[in-house]
């Protein structure tokens, strides 16, 4: 999804494609006729009343406030006593998704629309569905208006589900935030990576919720559903344009499995009635909300631009780094040692560690003139396990190594980073290379190696890098990692996700990398020690300010685990 070049549809193109939505959403399941023959007036706290008359299971008329009624197609599905119905307003790019609780007569209305840039300068992609959420009730003759309302919540934060829709679409969806979510498209995109989207979580009752996400920065598609966490059932609606710009507008029914609950970190008693955004100014436009749009602040550079920037400035292990406020002490272990790291891809590197921060390296067999001196840092995460990183100065692709050597077992794993991908000059790429350590007194194994592992998959771990700077890693699939930034009250906030890999070094000791893909291009490499609950590592990045190789060091807390590996395991057939 990061790599799909979604068409920048124009409002005119969108209007044309929405013509077919006038008849209402498609559905793989029979539509509900629960509303057929009924009329209702929905009173909203912050908008005009919506007067509906439903003439059947797929036709309605709507009058917005005092405006004349319009006819539209609709689709409705029920979940217990809850009704979800959706329709567009003909000859507009607007529509409504309405959730009605027949027991309380309380209503949540999501007004949805395309072509949002005119009203909100933050929107630059007309295909990105916008929404405004209103709360209210169905007017009952002779009865007073109810005081209660549905509302935003953190009561669903931390849950995760596997879903299978009636149309066959399978997903894993994690809710590690109060304003974002993660989703893994098992059928649409093969489940390799997870993706993140700004999301809404609304409480109807303790066992019924509304979840809604918009795939901002991707297709712009909106998925909204009612959710019963006990029975793992959903009914919902999907609205947007897919990667071939085809309209997706359908209601769906789904069943799933609860895959776990990870920790919440808000103070006790905080149920998420507000989302604290500190001094962040959110645009006053209707539907505006904070959306992570990383490519706006990290514009794509060409390779030539990167080369020029790197020629001007390289920052190698600076003394101050917000990502390393809690790093461990630099290890003296390697100082004074000589060794060769021989990798299975044929690469072999001779090292001479002159002191704790200076090394020399050369390709094995090269002459004395081939030695290159680099600044490095190293940390001994566990006895005999050293992680160190360094640049390969002079390399064509600004190569860098993040290496873990297990001296006790004479094993080495190298994350070989290079700068530049087919998509961006300032986006890192990485290869994982396994090998052995050849040094005096050790016997390298012939067959044993560190191994890729799935043991981290589904786990969530918080990382406190510096006072006030904490994120949470969610190891969301065997090949991707999501990071969640905490809000001021320690609720989960914005997220992004990128490709990742996990290597087992020892029990509870893992080497991981993640690429901040379609984002800022950073390669993060960390050695995760789940016994000491800390990491060490190296960030590798390039941008207008040049190349940066910087230390990482953070304290960890377990945040829980989702049981998801079975969804990623392919059967032999």
């Amino acid at each position: 999804m990061h790599r799909i070049r979604y068409t920048k549809l124009t409002p005119e193109q969108i209007a044309g494609k929405l013509a077919s939505a006038a008849t209402g959403p498609a559905s793989a399941s029979p539509l509900s006729d629960v509303l057929a023959g009924r009329s209702m007036r929905i009173v909203l706290d912050d908008g005009p009343a919506l007067s509906y008359t439903f003439s059947g299971s797929n036709r309605l008329s709507l009058a917005e406030g005092d405006a004349a009624a319009v006819q539209a197609g609709y689709g409705a599905l029920t979940l217990d006593r809850l009704i979800l119905f959706s329709h567009m307003v003909p000859r507009t790019q607007r529509g409504y998704t309405v959730v009605l609780d027949q027991d309380t007569n309380l209503v949540t209305v999501l007004e949805v629309w395309f072509s949002g840039s005119a009203a909100n300068p933050d929107i630059r992609d007309e295909r990105e569905v916008q929404r405004h959420i209103s709360y209210g009730y169905v007017e009952q003759a002779g009865r007073p208006a109810p005081a209660a309302r549905h509302g935003i919540t953190n009561r669903i934060e931390g849950k995760g589900f596997y879903w299978k829709q009636d149309g066959g679409v399978e997903t894993i969806e994690y809710y590690p935030s109060v304003m974002y979510s993660n989703f893994v498209e098992l059928t649409r995109f093969g489940g390799e990576l997870s993706f993140c989207a700004p999301s809404d979580y609304i409480r109807i009752s303790d066992d019924k919720y509304i979840y809604s996400r918009v795939e901002a920065e991707f297709s712009g598609t909106m998925t909204t559903y009612l959710l019963d966490p006990n029975r793992a059932e959903q009914v919902g609606v999907r609205l947007g344009f897919d990667e071939s710009d085809t309209l997706e507008y359908y209601v769906f029914r789904g069943r799933g499995e609860w895959v776990g609950q990870i920790a919440q970190f808000e103070p006790f008693g905080d149920v998420g009635a507000t989302i604290p955004l500190g001094n962040r100014n959110v645009a006053a436009a209707r539907g505006a909300r904070p959306v992570n749009r990383p490519l706006r602040t990290n514009p794509i550079m060409t390779r030539a631009e990167v080369d020029a920037a790197v020629a001007k400035n390289r920052t190698i292990f600076p003394a101050a780094s917000a990502m390393a406020g809690n790093k461990g002490p630099i290890s003296p272990f390697l100082s004074g040692k000589a060794l060769t790291l021989r990798y299975d891809n044929g690469m072999a590197i001779d090292y001479r560690f002159d002191d704790v921060q200076t090394l020399r390296w050369r390709r094995e067999g090269a002459g004395d003139a081939a030695w290159r001196q680099e600044r490095y840092e190293s940390w001994e995460s566990a006895p005999g396990v050293i992680m160190f990183g360094h640049l390969l100065s002079g390399a064509a692709d600004h190569d860098a190594f993040s290496i873990v050597v297990d001296v006790d077992h004479a094993l080495a794993t190298c994350l070989h980073a290079t700068m530049g991908t087919p998509y961006a000059g300032n986006e890192a790429a990485v290869k994982t290379v396994f090998g052995v350590v050849e040094m005096q007194g050790s016997t390298p194994p012939k067959y044993r190696r560190h191994q890729f592992t799935d043991e981290l998959v589904g786990r969530a771990v918080t990382w406190n890098y510096s006072p006030g700077l904490t994120s949470m890693h969610l190891y969301s699939t065997p090949h991707s990692l999501s990071w969640i930034i905490f809000l001021g009250n320690s609720a989960g906030g914005m997220e992004w996700s990128g490709p990742a890999a996990y290597v087992k070094i020892r029990d509870e000791l893992y080497l991981a990398y993640w690429l901040e893909e379609a984002c800022n291009g950073v390669l993060g490499t960390i050695l995760v020690n789940l016994r000491t609950m800390r990491n060490c590592g190296v960030d590798y990045a390039a941008g207008p300010k040049g190349l940066r190789l910087s230390p990482v060091g953070a304290h960890a807390r377990h945040a829980g685990r989702f049981d998801v590996m079975k969804y990623f395991t392919r059967n032999a057939e």
């Binding site: 955004l277 500190g278 990290n298 917000a322």
Partner: protein, 174 residues
């Protein structure tokens, strides 16, 4: 720090923030008027009125510091002048009065100083900036918050019978 631009919340927040003020007892020392009333009762009443006017000023300062920039500006005699002595990075984001104020009014009733014991919330941007910090800032974070005790000293001036703040200076507790 002298400020003339109080229109944007972001710039405003760099200087200070709001807090509830605690009700305080009058502790104004005796002050002589420029044209002393003959009537001792009237003199005392003037002193009390000055004290209350100045107290309202600093209470408004606390209230509006992170809220209504125009209302804050209206409290000042000229440009908003808040001096926190925190350097370029940290910013004052909230104030809470925690004790009795002390108001000293000059004998000519033209100037006064109000000293208000308080706790302040100070936010320091986390740095150097990096992608994680940028992401945190995009959702209102990326700062390290701490509170400390100190005193706000409000230098006030009376013009045309109206008291206003000329300068508000924060002094950390020693």
């Amino acid at each position: 720090m002298s400020r003339t631009d109080a229109t944007t919340r972001r710039s405003f927040m760099r200087t200070a923030g709001a807090a509830m003020s605690a009700p305080l007892a009058v502790a104004a020392p005796a002050a002589a008027s420029a044209a002393p009333p003959v009537d001792p009762l009237a003199a005392r009443l003037s002193r009390l009125e000055d004290g209350e006017a100045i107290r309202s000023l600093w209470q408004g300062f606390v209230r509006h510091l992170s809220g209504d920039a125009r209302a804050l500006a209206a409290l000042f005699d000229g440009d908003i002048d808040v001096r926190a002595g925190l350097g370029d990075g940290p910013s004052l984001t909230a104030i809470q009065a925690i004790g009795e104020d002390v108001i000293e009014i000059s004998p000519d009733r033209r100037t006064a100083v109000a000293r208000v014991p308080c706790t302040v919330m100070i936010e320091t941007p986390i740095g150097p900036s990096c992608p994680l910090v940028e992401m945190a800032r995009a959702q209102g974070g990326g700062v390290l918050a701490r509170s400390e005790a100190g005193t706000f000293e409000h230098a006030c001036v009376r013009r045309d019978g109206v008291w206003r703040i000329r300068r508000a200076t924060y002094h950390p507790a020693p």
